[in-house]
């Protein structure tokens, strides 16, 4: 069997309509070609025929995959969720969202590489996976509980298990509801919490007493020892971003000095990139990045920042879209496009307490946050279906406010600061930056960029992170590099922060590609040399493109971002500093398709390219250009 090591060899296949559970051989889905995570989810989705159904249709599969590295010590306890994403706007698209925590490791030890959930239960249930014993249990008593309460209740009943759950937001089909494991380990973007809610599935509980096996444990250990000796084994750098509130001082300083209890993070990773805070009266939990959503707009209120994070986690709402909600609400009300009442709110600190220090007392923030977040989680708020859908209902002026901040697919602008990032955005199905900070790294570190043959100098990473120079030359190279690497990161899997291009950077003996290639080879026992590894990333990206073509009629004309980005500088620090030039953009996009080996006119992969990548079986199901 090909997948003796690293992989568990089985997919847990669940049909909630029929109450059926079965174990399907992983080898039916070409794991050596698509690895796991996003690659495996995409391969399963392809096999299911890339169904053209709505996100809340029972035939939309909720896909959850780990990869061959999951279960080994290191930054590998990650899973990817996939399926048709209700958050995508205006069209629901096949997308992805990753999470860490302990659940992914536990799933591997239980003996599975993936869970596929189809159908819809008649009443609320949870899925219990105890190694090979899989049952569907009544969750009537859990429905309505928040994510923390649900985890506590289920762990009390099933000790030592790990729980992936939705909160009230997922139950009420909020289109940006999350799946949460422990605290701050969430599949955030995509709205997959609502997909789970639409299936009446409250939680997945996993306990695994098995093992993760490696082909060559001694080689794995010596690789780790070698990098540890070189001072490179998970020693910080990019990972340290998330330990303290990203919104900066005074909140960060106050939280750090008064409320930080310890570091936290994913299972098996020695770095622990999150901070665990306990603020009496508000609550305790972890934070790492977008958890600071309210801190970015809260004008120095630590209580507001922390309650925003704790409450959104408990209710199961995506922090990144909440940042979008705030940006949209504040801009729209300030411009008198709509009122707070239009958003279902009685009071907003930013207007009603604008003159007070920190925009008012903790009580003011508490009242606002509970009104806003409960409204969203319970489906009463006009914003419960995301900013795009809310803006559309409110009319063209509101749409304009939305477009200011949302470049494509209904996702808030994020690191869209140079041309490669714009290409990456334009050719994805969601914001690509859950997992591709690589571009920022290249922009800021010419030595690293030169080594990998991509341009540099178009992002300044220090200071205020503003872009400094917009240029088109060779932009397609960075975009392709990062997409291929992103596909690998989300499939091996390896943590985004632990696999930046500057990690393990000791060329020519070692760099991130060599590192990943060696780890994957030691674990699987298959020779994933750097070339084969990179081709695997490329293959996964091509499969995702094939799904876009088959299911979503994706054409070159769809590969774009909001027209505003071409007309003016968008007032957003996560954005380009100059408008895109239409002509140069089109040329760069053409070069992108050529570098991909795709047809530049249609934007479709060619038959020839897919065959070179060993994807004849995929190509045969599509009407594609030949060469």
């Amino acid at each position: 069997m090909a997948t003796t090591y690293g992989w568990a060899g089985k997919i847990l296949w669940v049909d909630l309509t029929k109450g059926k559970r079965s174990a399907v051989p992983l080898d039916d889905f070409e794991p050596e070609k698509y690895i796991g995570g996003v690659g495996l989810n995409s391969r399963i989705f392809w096999e299911l025929g890339a169904p053209k159904v709505a996100a809340f249709h029972p035939d939309n599969p909720l896909l959850l995959s780990v990869g061959p590295l999951t279960g080994a010590p290191g930054p590998f306890s990650r899973a990817e969720v996939g399926g048709i994403a209700p958050q995508s706007y205006p069209q629901e698209l096949f997308a992805y969202s990753g999470f860490g925590g302990k659940f992914p490791t536990e799933l591997k030890y239980a003996g599975y590489d993936a869970i596929v959930i189809l159908g819809k239960s008649e009443k609320p249930v949870y899925l219990l996976v105890e190694d090979q014993d899989v049952s569907i249990r009544d969750a009537g008593h859990l429905w309505g509980l928040d994510t923390f309460e649900t985890q506590r209740s289920l762990i009390a009943r099933h000790p030592k298990s790990s729980v992936l759950t939705i909160g009230p937001a997922g139950e009420n089909l909020c289109r940006f509801a999350i799946l949460l494991n422990e605290s701050a380990s969430a599949a955030g973007q995509g709205g997959y919490g609502a997909v789970m809610g639409s299936k009446n599935l409250k939680a997945i509980v996993v306990r695994g007493t098995g093992s993760h096996t490696m082909a060559d444990p001694d080689k794995f250990l010596s690789l780790v020892a070698e990098r540890q000796k070189a001072g490179e084994w998970l020693t910080g750098g990019a990972q340290s971003w998330g330990r303290y509130p990203l919104c900066g001082d005074p909140v960060s300083k106050e939280m750090r000095t008064q409320y930080l209890k310890r570091f936290a993070g994913c299972y098996g990773c020695p770095y622990q990139c999150m901070g665990f805070y306990d603020m009496p009266g508000v609550g305790k939990g972890a934070q790492m990045c977008a958890e600071a959503w309210y801190g970015f707009v809260g004008n120095g209120s630590s209580e507001g920042y922390w309650e925003g994070n704790i409450l959104s986690q408990k209710l199961g709402i995506n922090n990144f879209e909440l940042l979008g909600v705030m940006v949209f609400a504040l801009a729209g009300i300030a411009a008198k496009v709509f009122t707070k009442e239009d958003l279902g709110l009685k009071s907003i600190p930013h207007f009603d307490h604008a003159a007070e220090p920190k925009l008012g007392s903790p009580k003011v923030h508490h009242e606002f946050l509970t009104a806003l977040l409960n409204g969203i989680a319970e489906g009463r708020s006009p914003l419960a279906h995301g900013v795009g859908r809310a803006a559309e209902k409110m009319g063209p002026a509101a749409m304009r406010v939305y477009e200011d901040q949302y470049p494509a697919y209904g996702y808030l602008s994020h690191h869209l600061k140079n041309i490669p990032a714009a290409i990456h955005w334009a050719t994805d199905t969601r914001d690509p930056f859950n997992s591709c900070h690589d571009l920022m790294f290249f922009g800021a570190f010419p030595k690293v960029a030169d080594h990998f043959g991509v341009p540099s100098g178009d992002v300044r990473i220090v200071a205020d992170w503003e872009g400094i120079d917009v240029f088109y030359e060779r932009a397609e190279r960075s975009a392709v590099w990062c997409q291929n690497h992103q596909s690998l990161k989300n499939s091996l899997p390896i943590c985004e922060y632990a696999s930046m291009p500057g990690n393990y950077f000791n060329p020519p003996q070692m760099d991130i590609r060599i590192f990943e290639s060696k780890i994957l080879s030691a674990v699987t026992g298959m020779d994933y040399g750097v070339e084969r590894l990179w081709e695997t990333g490329e293959r996964i990206w091509n499969l995702r493109r094939a799904i876009m073509v088959l299911r979503e009629n994706r054409e070159r004309s769809g590969d774009t971002i909001s027209h505003l980005w071409f007309e003016r500088t968008v007032p957003n620090r996560q954005s380009l500093t100059a408008p895109l030039d239409r002509e140069q953009w089109n040329e760069a996009l053409t070069r992108y398709y050529e570098l991909r080996g795709w047809d530049a006119k249609s934007g479709h992969p060619t038959k020839g390219k897919l065959e070179v990548l060993g994807m004849k079986n995929i190509a045969d199901k599509l009407a594609l250009p030949a060469a």
Partner: protein, 194 residues
Amino acid sequence: MAACKKKRGGTGRREFLTGTGAALTVGMVTGITGDSLAPQVEAAEIPVAARIEHHASLCAGCGVCSLMCSLYHEKVSSLVLSRSEIIREPLEGTFSLNVCRQCQAPSCYQACPLKDSALCVDKETGIKYINAAKCSACGECVRACPLDPPRVRLTAERKYAFKCDLCRGRENGPICVEYCGQHALAATPGNRRA
């Protein structure tokens, strides 16, 4: 000691009271009162072994210790084959570690019908360790362990018993200590005999 249990009608207590003077002295001096002291052991003749100390306030509950442990000793990553176990409450942010205390008067050793072949005491370091190749997996050591849960465990297939031996013989010392990113683990020095 909070981790110490009284089981099967207070056996631990009785053994403690009937312990030899020498054993009692060693126990008190080294601060391991409460560990079971079996009457036959000449504890004073055994060097005080090192043991793994867990600093709960630093621990993030990441479990690198467990995964590295099982990988080093069993060549697989697994929670049930690790010599140590993190008890995690991630939503509370509290974590504790269950691992062999290297009792000075080890009841596991006393209970082993194949002692000095299966369950052995390193004369130089005082470390109590299991020679898996000789172990019959009878489980006596597991039953004898005074701690709850027992720090000696059997493999799921009952092939042999295993417990922490501080990675005896490993150049860099215990692997869990080496790779703990939070510096929450340390090995006490022990008094290795020259």
